[in-house]
C-alpha cells in the first residue's frame, strides 16, 4: 500500500478514536476499500486523497455522526466521554460550557433530591427525630413547607438543564458532522 495512503488511513483511524472499536474498524475498512477503488480506476493518489479532504476532518464528520446515532442509554458515561473528546477541538464550548453545565445539573439534582427526601422524611416518619422544624413566626408547622417545594424546584431546574445540555450537545455534534461542506 502506498505510503501516503497508509499515512492517511492512520490519521483517519486516529480521528475516530472516540468511538467504539468495532464501528471504527468498519469505517476504516470501508475507507480503505474506497481509496483502493479510486486508485484502481487510474486516479492519482494525491488526487484521490485531496478529494476526500483532510483525514482528521473526515474522521470528525464520521465520528460525530456515530455519536449522534448512538442511543442515549446505558452507555451514558462512555458516550459522554466520547463526545467531550471529539468536541475538544471546538475549544471553549466543550471544555468549559459542557462540563460546567453538567456540574450545575449534578449540583441542582443532588440538592433537589437530598432536600426533597429530608423534607419529606422530616414531615412524616422522622417527625420527632429530625429537627429541621425551625420555629417560624408566619409559617405554621415547620420549615418543611418551604424546603419541600423548594427542593423539588431545584430538581426541576436540574431536569431543565439536562434537556438544555442534550440539545446543545446535539447542536455541536451536528455542526461537527456538517463540517465537510
Amino acid at each position: 500500500m502506498d505510503e501516503q495512503v497508509k499515512r492517511y488511513l492512520k490519521e483517519f483511524r486516529s480521528g475516530l478514536r472516540h468511538i467504539p472499536a468495532t464501528e471504527r474498524d468498519d469505517m476504516v475498512k470501508e475507507m480503505e476499500s474506497h481509496i483502493a477503488e479510486a486508485l484502481s480506476s487510474g486516479r492519482p493518489v494525491a488526487d484521490v486523497l485531496a478529494r476526500l479532504g483532510p483525514a482528521d476532518r473526515l474522521a470528525r464528520a464520521m465520528a460525530a455522526q456515530a455519536l449522534l446515532d448512538a442511543p442515549d442509554d446505558g452507555l451514558r458515561m462512555r458516550r459522554w466521554f466520547a463526545i467531550l473528546g471529539l468536541l475538544a477541538f471546538t475549544g471553549l464550548p466543550s471544555l468549559v460550557i459542557v462540563p460546567g453545565l453538567a456540574l450545575l445539573i449534578f449540583a441542582f439534582g443532588f440538592a433537589g433530591v437530598v432536600g426533597t427526601v429530608v423534607s419529606f422524611l422530616s414531615l412524616t416518619i422522622l417527625h420527632n427525630m429530625v429537627t429541621t422544624s425551625l420555629p417560624h413566626p408566619n409559617v405554621p408547622g415547620g420549615a418543611e413547607i418551604v424546603t419541600l417545594p423548594f427542593s423539588m424546584l431545584l430538581g426541576l431546574v436540574a431536569v431543565g438543564l439536562t434537556w438544555l445540555l442534550n440539545r446543545y450537545i446535539k447542536f455541536l455534534l451536528t455542526a461537527a458532522r456538517n463540517v465537510m461542506h
Binding site: 475498512k29 470501508e30 476499500s33 474506497h34 455522526q65 465537510m180
Partner: protein
C-alpha cells in the same frame, strides 16, 4: 445565499441516494462516483458516508461485504423494507413540494388587496 443552497442540497441528498440504491445494491465508491456526475449536488465523501451511516442506523439501509476481484472487499448498501417505504413517502412529499413551489415561481397564489 451559499447557506441556503447548502441547506437545499443537504435536504435532497438523502432522496437522491435512496433512489440510486433502489436501482440495486451499490458500494460506497460507486455511490460517490455516480453522485459526482451531478455536480449541482456538490456531494462529497465527507457528506455521503456519514449520511449512509445514518440511514443504516435508522434501518433504511442494510449492508453486506463482498469480495472483489482486484482489491479489498466492498461494503454494499441496499434498501430495507422500511427504507423502500420511506423512499416512497419522500417521493410523494417531494412531488407535492415541487408542485407547490413551481406554482409560486410562475406567479401563483396572490393576495389581492
Amino acid at each position: 445565499m451559499e447557506d441556503w443552497v447548502s441547506q437545499l442540497r443537504r435536504g435532497v441528498l438523502e432522496l437522491c441516494i435512496l433512489s440510486l440504491i433502489e436501482q440495486g445494491p451499490q458500494y460506497g465508491y460507486e455511490i460517490v462516483t455516480r453522485l459526482a456526475e451531478t455536480p449541482q449536488l456538490a456531494a462529497g465523501e465527507g457528506t455521503i458516508y456519514p449520511l449512509l451511516r445514518r440511514l443504516k442506523k435508522e434501518a433504511w439501509l442494510e449492508t453486506f461485504w463482498q469480495e472483489s476481484a482486484a482489491g479489498p472487499p466492498r461494503q454494499y448498501y441496499r434498501l430495507t423494507a422500511s427504507g423502500a417505504e420511506g423512499l416512497q413517502r419522500m417521493r410523494s412529499e417531494w412531488s407535492q413540494l415541487v408542485g407547490a413551489v413551481g406554482g409560486y415561481l410562475e406567479g401563483g397564489p396572490r393576495s389581492d388587496g
